[in-house]
Symmetry: C2
């Protein structure tokens, strides 16, 4: 039997994992590799700890043969049933199934697109005003970086940030939805490293609250030192990066 061209080379070759994870794993908890992204799953919260993508102008290009409407949100059978998010958990919750590895970054092959629709790649996101708006703008911004930078690496995930209450104490509080108590993160982060043609690395980190954000808010407002995300997430980003190559952090020379 002939193998259709569209099915060639679509599962994650070890070399592809090495490309994606070139600058190190943020953590090692329940790691899963997919055809075009790598994920670490938080079994307690039923959402990812982090997802890692390596984007190039070629890899994010739109292939008209790829049909997003044929990609279904589906449970990840590789996760133990006790910890597996289901579509019913999200239903009537008021939250979107928010992609961590964005579907729009993986339009070159049908399989790449489909892999991003696993529920293990989702976290509950406010839909209107966030997932479909400000967060989507951040995703488009990252994708656009591939036009000016040959290689873009992006790590994305949820945060559960504390707030101070009237009693002077700090609390973490978040909703959980559905029978499988899927955590609704208070915030989401992206930590990005864009490699320029001169091999210099440009790092940016963003934290956005999981709430309606006015469309006229510039993305700059959400920039934070990468260390802030690391401390809050319990992860270390781009640990294997050669610091000599690092030219800027959040647009400022280092």
């Amino acid at each position: 039997e002939l193998i259709p061209a569209s099915e060639v080379n679509l599962t994650a070759r070890p070399s592809r994992i090495a490309e994606i994870m070139k600058y190190g794993f943020p953590g090692m908890d329940n790691v899963r590799s997919h055809s075009d992204y790598v994920l670490s799953y938080d079994r307690r919260n039923r959402v990812p700890h982090w997802v890692f993508e390596h984007l190039t102008a070629a890899s994010v290009a739109k292939n008209d043969a790829v049909d997003r409407s044929k990609c279904d949100f589906r449970p990840d059978e590789s996760i133990h049933p006790y910890f597996r998010a289901q579509n019913t958990d999200y239903r009537r919750s008021g939250y979107d199934r928010g992609h961590m590895a964005a579907a729009g970054n993986h339009r070159l092959h049908q399989k790449h697109c489909e892999d991003t629709f696993l529920l293990s790649n989702m976290a509950p996101q406010v839909g209107q005003g966030f997932n479909r708006d400000s967060w989507n703008s951040l995703e488009m911004y990252v994708r656009k970086l591939t036009q000016s930078h040959p290689n873009v690496y992006v790590c994305t995930g949820p945060l559960y940030l504390p707030h101070k209450e009237d009693d002077g104490k700090s609390y973490v509080k978040y909703e959980v939805i559905g029978a499988n108590t899927v955590a609704v993160p208070t915030h989401f982060y992206k930590v990005i490293v864009a490699e320029a043609a001169d091999k210099k690395l440009h790092m940016e980190a963003y934290v956005m609250p999981n709430q309606v954000i006015s469309n006229d808010t510039p993305l700059k407002v959400f920039q934070v030192p990468p260390e802030t995300v690391e401390r809050a997430a319990g992860l270390l980003f781009f640990d294997k990066m050669n610091r000599q190559q690092l030219a800027t952090i959040n647009g400022k020379k280092v």
Copy 2:
């Protein structure tokens, strides 16, 4: 130079780790092995995910040469500074530095005792009425099981359980203390497997709220199906146990 008898065989030999972890690892996130217990560290919450101990009548015996007052609570240098709990985090928080692997289980060698005083083995616990009372009773109960069962395995850790609020939604809420935002768990669990002389295994699981508990409350009240703890913690306990050997769960024949 002569090696003092007290320093012989006190670091975790691979064979000791295999003994402790005989029935499987509940999870693989940031695992650390110590002289007489094994731990998985939650870098986001700065407390353990789980600690595992293997207790026998001999291993829990009190050695009068061991001086608990010489064991100091100290930061675990093996944890990255971003995620490392400090004594100052607990100071004036109102919470005890609560041992997950109980000091009272490791009194055979000074090094065993000292290892349990690492802050990576602690979680904030209500002192009076919990750590020093009901939780201590549960620890004593586990220790006592070694008198009737040649081998006792116990896994201990924190939980962050949801509660329903007036809006009909479920929330997880917990305090975080100190500059390093150490999480104050809402509950703690113990999952125990006691191996009898006839090799039959007896499993018990307990969940206790991190609050003042009246001293006359029987431990039985806190028994829960082990699966309940697994789902809440995102962990799988005693996965490698031969289910044929399992005689009882929470005192009931299986």
